[in-house]
Symmetry: C2
Subunit: 473 residues, 2 copies
């Protein structure tokens, strides 16, 4: 350090400690050193936010998993109403809706030939049941979805299909789009070819004995065969067993069941704006989760982040526009909460829709679906000191704001989170509180606070890009 | 690169590719660039070894888990005899012995108050059973073993003890010695204080929903209460629930059972030495495993490493001393195989004992219990180009050679493996083939080949350090 310039270094130290991740070893994407001297006071304060962490920790500890339409999700709504009121939000209420409920039963998989091998399996949402006694059958291996789709009708009669894929880590989560069809549609194609069941390699990027659950959809009239995901190490083992060249047989017990229509609900809360003539901003997360984990990343963290940011804007003085929080119900099992919100609020003006539903790691990029070039520049410039680059993709929002985007045509801004390790945890038992890095979560809050503070106080038009310019949406 | 010195760089490239880990992201300790120009031909060849990997992969794929005294371990012995004969070893045979067998049953844990939370649990070896209906009780939390040891008799009547600890990652594995007592002896002290059961934080350094099993011992006459380990994320949750200040209750179902005395066995194979007057060298690993995983790291890899090295020395020409491979049975549940070997061979001379039972990551240090200073220098100098430093600790060998070391007083050399991630995997479902880094495993083979080639061809005395000098053993 040069003797004539000690001050900037000293001033930086306390904040530097906050933005450097305490978990820089391992798979946690490290926080870069940002140009902290350029943060404004609101951003600096947000970098030591603990509201988002407290909400996340509270949900996972005091509620736990929150499967849509179950008493667990109802407990989560009660908890959310209490917490949102305690934080000082206005108009906190639940908007209930009905949705079909499917619940997990027994789960067991074992290779029985050529040698016994225990497998870790979990049923996919809407999977059929094997019955308590289970089924046994020969494995037919498909190294990719294209081969499974090509399987002729009847070719898998009495067999258990096994489909795998090649999911790689991507920062932007695009690997999910590539590998996901094995889960989303594999069971449908296996059923059409006559399979008595299907096991898939987990849609995930980890190397743990934690299978990844998730939804799957069958075409109308296609039998819901038993469908499960085995963990990636188990899929490796099964592939090696297939490679030995002898018939491979598996015993499966999966006994999920349908519970019919049950009540779920969206939790709404607002920061009331001062100018009723300006359309509100909706910011979303989802309150429900899969049932294998307390689900800190998916999506307690999202609720923590958007809520902490809204509170910071609220506490800084009444904004011009209303900010509406949507803690959606029943996202995982078919986005029923987002659909219910879109239907109920279709005729209300919405200036802007945003969502946080990709974990708690840092925001690295901002994308827009927003007409006002000067406003985009203002936001991008304000985010830059947080290490956030300006992307050139069109913003799409998240699942829970999909219906309202279609109905009310708001602008959209995506604060893209680093997804490098997201699919290690997604829909597994491993989605637990320890995975949340407080420093990266606070950077999310700082980014959301930055954007909300600008847009909620913007009295010019906030409109989506014209169709012709965006070429989509 | 300077134009006048291109050759060394170019020559290094192919070997450099081998020693740089393909898994340098994540928790795998990276291989350093060694001084490859100083490797001898035998070491260079060993750095591309695939025998160790093939043995490991074969055991985990074609046998799977290998719980001592079960038919699975018997299949492993059959596999071992076939493979060792196929590799060209002499005198391949099984030395059977009897040992008490305990097997896992149903396993379930759920917090029932103040809120429901599912927990991932696994029973500890020799745990008692809760019966099929399970038990429920209030948790009494002990943040460390000292507090549990101090619990007065009767103070835990009808309660479930929960003990945790603070296990940290250590390269040399010493964190196990610090945290291990919570598993080894926690159940005994909880039973003495009257607890109806005990759950412990897993003895492990990972953050996955994989509980770590392992043995526990009760004093003579102390009741074998149900004893299980919950995963580290579940222990975090339980600690947070305790911190809420309300009574925490848990339901437990653990139904392990004792199977009485059953047959296990040690598999022996040899490279016959040319000079029958020279005492043999015994190199050990263990063939059995816990039942939660195919157990690549613990200890299929050890068998692969020592066997591949012995074969390289054998293939280089008959050594002077006999090298005896000991693939021990029944290590995990009480080192019954090592004890049986020590008893059966106590009267035979043994020059040197070594063992590999700490995963498949690189050897980073060599320790000696060896009198001949010149021989120690020769070995340490030969290992240095592999990036292996000379330690100043006394070598102790592994569990399976413990009895023969006590009985026959051989010298000991420890090739210390990097244990940075060993206790992420140890005794969990996650001990699977994907964890083995082929480049680091080959470095182990090169290190073992280096040492075996020197000692098996050394016709001077190979003796342990004198008692007075070593102060121990």
């Amino acid at each position: 350090m040069r003797a004539d310039t000690p001050e900037p270094m000293i001033k930086q130290l306390p904040l530097l400690a906050l933005v450097l991740s305490p978990l820089c070893a391992g798979a946690v994407p490290a926080m870069a050193q940002q140009d902290l001297r350029n943060l404004n006071d609101m951003q600096k304060a947000a970098m030591s936010d603990d509201v988002a962490y407290d909400i996340t920790e509270g949900l996972v500890t005091e509620v736990g998993h929150r499967m849509a339409g179950t008493p667990d999700e109802a407990r989560a709504r009660d908890w959310a109403v209490r917490r949102l009121n305690a934080l000082g939000f206005a108009n906190v209420h639940v908007e209930p809706f009905q949705m079909p409920v499917w619940v997990r039963g027994k789960e067991m998989a074992q290779v029985t030939a050529p040698v016994p091998q225990d497998m870790y399996i979990t049923a996919l949402g809407t999977s059929g049941s094997t019955g308590d006694k289970g089924i046994e059958g020969e494995i037919v291996y498909f190294p990719n979805m294209s081969q499974l789709i090509a399987a002729p009708a009847g070719s898998l009669n009495g067999k258990i299909a096994f489909v795998t894929h090649d999911m790689r880590v991507t920062q932007d989560g695009s690997g999910y789009g590539f590998a996901g069809p094995a889960r989303w549609r594999g069971p449908n194609f296996a059923a059409k070819a006559g399979a008595s069941a299907i096991v898939i390699r987990s849609i995930g990027t980890d190397q743990h004995r934690n299978p990844h659950t998730g939804g799957t959809t069958f075409d109308e009239g296609v039998k819901h065969i038993p469908a499960g995901a085995i963990s990636n190490p188990d899929a490796d083992t099964l592939e090696r067993l297939v490679a030995l060249g002898q018939p491979v047989r598996m015993k499966l017990v999966l006994t999920p069941r349908d519970m019919g229509m049950q009540e779920s609900g969206n939790v709404i809360a607002e920061v009331a704006g001062s100018d009723a003539s300006l359309a509100p901003i909706v910011i979303a997360c989802h309150l429900d989760s899969w049932d294998l984990a307390p689900s800190a990343f998916d999506d307690a963290a999202g609720c923590g982040i958007v809520t902490a940011a809204a509170k910071r804007v609220m506490d800084a003085g009444q904004p011009k526009r209303t900010i509406r929080l949507l803690w959606a119900g029943a996202e995982e099992v078919g986005v029923f909460g987002g659909a219910a919100y879109g239907k109920a609020h279709a005729d209300e003006p919405h200036a802007l829709a945003m969502e946080s539903d990709f974990g708690a790691d840092r925001v690295w990029k901002v994308d827009f679906h927003l007409a006002d070039a000067a406003l985009k520049d203002e936001i991008a410039l304000a985010l830059a000191p947080l290490g956030i680059e300006r992307g050139d993709a069109h913003a799409h929002g998240g699942a829970d704001v999909g219906a309202i985007i279609e109905a009310a045509k708001p602008a959209v801004i995506d604060l893209q989170q680093d997804g490098t390790r997201y699919f290690d945890l997604h829909h597994t038992p491993d989605d637990t509180m320890d995975k949340v890095d407080p420093a990266q979560m606070a950077q999310n809050v700082a980014a959301w606070t930055t954007v909300l503070n600008i847009v909620a106080n913007h009295d010019g038009a906030i409109a989506p890009e014209p169709m012709a310019a965006s070429g989509e949406m």
